[in-house]
């Protein structure tokens, strides 16, 4: 296959990942609205290019830490959407046996070290994972994904300094969706933002259009190459837009409709579809990818719905080995 062919194949892979993420989250939203999924659900609809563009540059044994809006990161890293959906449904067959839900999906078998319910919670963990890997002479690296809200928490500064200090193999990715919960990120963030803060700690940083998966792939590819060469941490700042509310029950109606409409015109899945069409990919091929995703995620939802609840006794498992609930000498 020619270089151009390789490149096209890569774009189609990215498209497939993004469509699977989009379909998963749209389905989860629908299921949440239908009362089938309990608890808080944070979707990343509109941000899929970041997850896909980052993870296509990772190996299976590379690790990843994520945040509360992490379904896309997990899917792109190779997690099984069926087990993810079952976890969202709180079922025994879910990744965490129903103990974690949307905010705590992890799949250690693909290096996904966990979503996180605390903003910036994954940053120190990523630094330590990288330090542990380095100590064990592993060649794996760690991708640390967080939002724009995290850059105003202390662990962001600590983590940048730490990773730079020990030259750790960490790729920091600030997935800047322009809004921290219900507040515009730029209204609560002083100065020029994440890249400048990284550079102040000696961490090279680039900023990229996070809705352009080709640009994300390129920027991350370059940064990952530096990290793999042992040059220490890098930061990629990917500007994107959260098309939906903070949670499934939030309409984010405070945003002007014109702003959201304009953002829809820039959303990454349709944007990549246009590129693929220009590159000669047939509409049927794109439709087939959509149909495959719909089948996969539809089956995941049906299986989750039919899956058993965890046995109540499982609430007492995996607390700790010693001193757990039933502990006796």
């Amino acid at each position: 296959m020619s270089d151009a062919g390789d490149n096209l194949k890569r774009l189609i892979d990215l498209y497939r990942t993004m469509v699977r993420i989009r379909t998963f989250e749209q389905t989860a939203l629908e299921a949440h609205r239908a009362g089938e999924i309990p608890g808080p659900l944070h979707v990343s609809i509109g941000q899929e290019a970041v997850a896909a563009g980052v993870c296509i540059n990772l190996r299976r044994d590379d690790r990843l830490t994520s945040n509360h809006r992490g379904h896309g990161h997990a899917i792109a890293k190779g997690a099984d959407p069926a087990r993810m959906m079952a976890e969202l449904y709180g079922r025994a067959t879910g990744y965490c046996g129903g103990k974690g839900g949307s905010m705590h999906i992890a799949d250690f078998s693909v290096g996904m070290l966990g979503a996180n319910g605390v903003v910036a919670g994954g940053i120190p963990i990523a630094c330590g994972a990288a330090q542990g890997l380095k100590l064990q002479k592993s060649e794996a690296i760690v991708a640390c994904l967080f939002g724009d809200g995290a850059v105003n928490r202390g662990p962001f500064l600590e983590g940048l300094n730490w990773a730079a200090l020990y030259r750790l193999p960490v790729l920091f990715v600030c997935e800047d969706n322009a809004v921290a919960a219900f507040t515009r990120a730029d209204s609560v963030t002083a100065g020029p933002g994440a890249p400048a803060r990284a550079q102040a700690c000696g961490v090279p940083a680039t900023s990229v259009d996070g809705n352009d998966v080709i640009a994300v792939d390129e920027a991350v590819g370059a940064a990952v190459a530096m990290v793999r060469q042992g040059q220490g941490p890098q930061l990629v700042h990917a500007r994107t837009y959260r098309l939906m509310g903070h949670t499934a029950t939030d309409a984010a109606a405070w945003r002007p409709a014109s702003e959201v409409e304009a953002a829809h015109a820039q959303e990454p899945v349709a944007r990549l579809a246009r590129v693929l069409t220009e590159r000669g990919v047939a509409a049927e091929s794109l439709a087939a990818i959509g149909a495959q995703a719909a089948d996969e995620i539809g089956a995941a939802r049906a299986a989750a719905r039919a899956a058993p609840w965890p046995e109540p006794a499982r609430a007492f498992a995996d607390v700790q080995d010693l001193g757990a609930v039933a502990w006796r000498r």
């Binding site: 965490c96 966990g114 990523a126 330090q131 202390g154 498992a317 995996d318 001193g323």
Partner: protein, 323 residues
């Protein structure tokens, strides 16, 4: 081996385990310089700067990085320098370390030891003197070790390092210089097994950490006056040796719990409540807690003395149970 200080006993314990297991390493402020207390003296020379890691004053990341390193298969010892600084790392400890195994459905066991030298020591005032171990007994997912002797500190630390559960290890600052024999090699001491310090029938006195020598002095004084108490050092408050305490109170019918921490809602309340539940109220003639008043630890020696439990206070408390 000859008698060593509690501080040296912990140094030997960690050294032994780092020699045994290359996955074990230490991170914390000034660790490469031997640690604030000298508890890692010589480590950087023997184990290198990658296993005896001096860190920035970044408590959140010291704690969180320890967790991340555990999740990829190493076994870090997270040094907090002084217990009170853990307040800067509470998310990483309470929301992350104590939860990941459970939240992720058992996919990972965070095998970390968090060392937190605690308690009053040389008039260090309100932010360097606290004993809040009861908070962590309340926290599912962790073990809470509170040793009082050189041998116990060493043996429990070896157990902690080999344990797959997160262990919160409260070094008793005020007892760093207390001496005792440690074995060679240092054998692990299982968690949840109390140590009987003295035998007696008059009352049961339960204690741990820096209050142990205080209660021991009181028990000796009482013995001189003809009152022999059963004195129990819990050594770990989670898990804790309910069987030893219940058996003793069954015998004596009187229970005093002594801790340096604030008395209100301290772990002493849990001990008394559990014993009452297990034995029934009729089995107890009297029960009492003795701890600090509910005030911050003050600086000036005469003010700090107001807060401390003392042998006299313990003696009076035992006498009040018996009278």
């Amino acid at each position: 081996m000859a008698a060593v200080t509690l501080l040296e006993a912990t140094r030997l314990a960690v050294q032994q385990e780092m020699r045994r297991d290359p996955r074990v390493w230490v991170l914390g402020e000034d660790v490469a310089r031997g640690g604030l207390w000298g508890q890692y003296r010589g480590f950087v020379d023997e184990f290198g700067a990658e296993r005896a890691v001096s860190t920035p004053i970044s408590e959140a990341t010291i704690m969180g990085a320890g967790l991340g390193a555990a999740l990829v298969g190493t076994r870090p010892i997270i040094e907090m320098r002084i217990f009170d600084f853990v307040m800067c790392a509470m998310d990483e400890l309470v929301n992350q370390i104590a939860k990941v195994r459970y939240m992720f459905g058992g996919q990972a066991k965070p095998a970390v030891v968090v060392r937190m030298p605690h308690g009053m020591w040389r008039n260090s005032a309100a932010q360097h003197s606290q004993m809040l171990e009861a908070w962590f007994a309340h926290l599912p997912g962790v073990i809470v070790a509170t040793p009082a002797t050189a041998a116990d500190a060493a043996g429990l630390l070896v157990e902690a390092i080999r344990c797959d559960d997160p262990v919160l290890f409260f070094d008793p600052k005020d007892l760093w210089t207390a001496t005792g024999d440690v074995g060679e090699p240092i054998a692990p001491i299982p968690f949840g097994l109390a140590r009987k310090v003295r035998d007696g029938d008059a009352a049961t006195v339960v204690t741990w950490s820096a209050a142990v020598p205080v209660a021991t002095a009181a028990a000796e004084q009482l013995a001189g006056e003809g009152t022999a108490v059963d004195l129990i050092d819990l050594r770990t408050i989670w898990p804790w040796d309910q069987e030893a305490v219940v058996a003793s109170v069954h015998k004596t019918g009187r229970l005093l719990v002594v801790h340096e921490a604030v008395e209100v809602a301290g772990f002493g309340a849990e001990v008394v409540a559990r014993v009452v539940e297990r034995l029934g109220p009729a089995a107890l003639k009297a029960a009492k807690r003795l701890g600090a008043p509910r005030i911050p630890v003050p600086f000036a020696p005469p003010l700090e003395a107001e807060v401390r439990v003392t042998p006299d206070k313990v003696v009076r408390a035992v006498q009040s149970l018996i009278d």
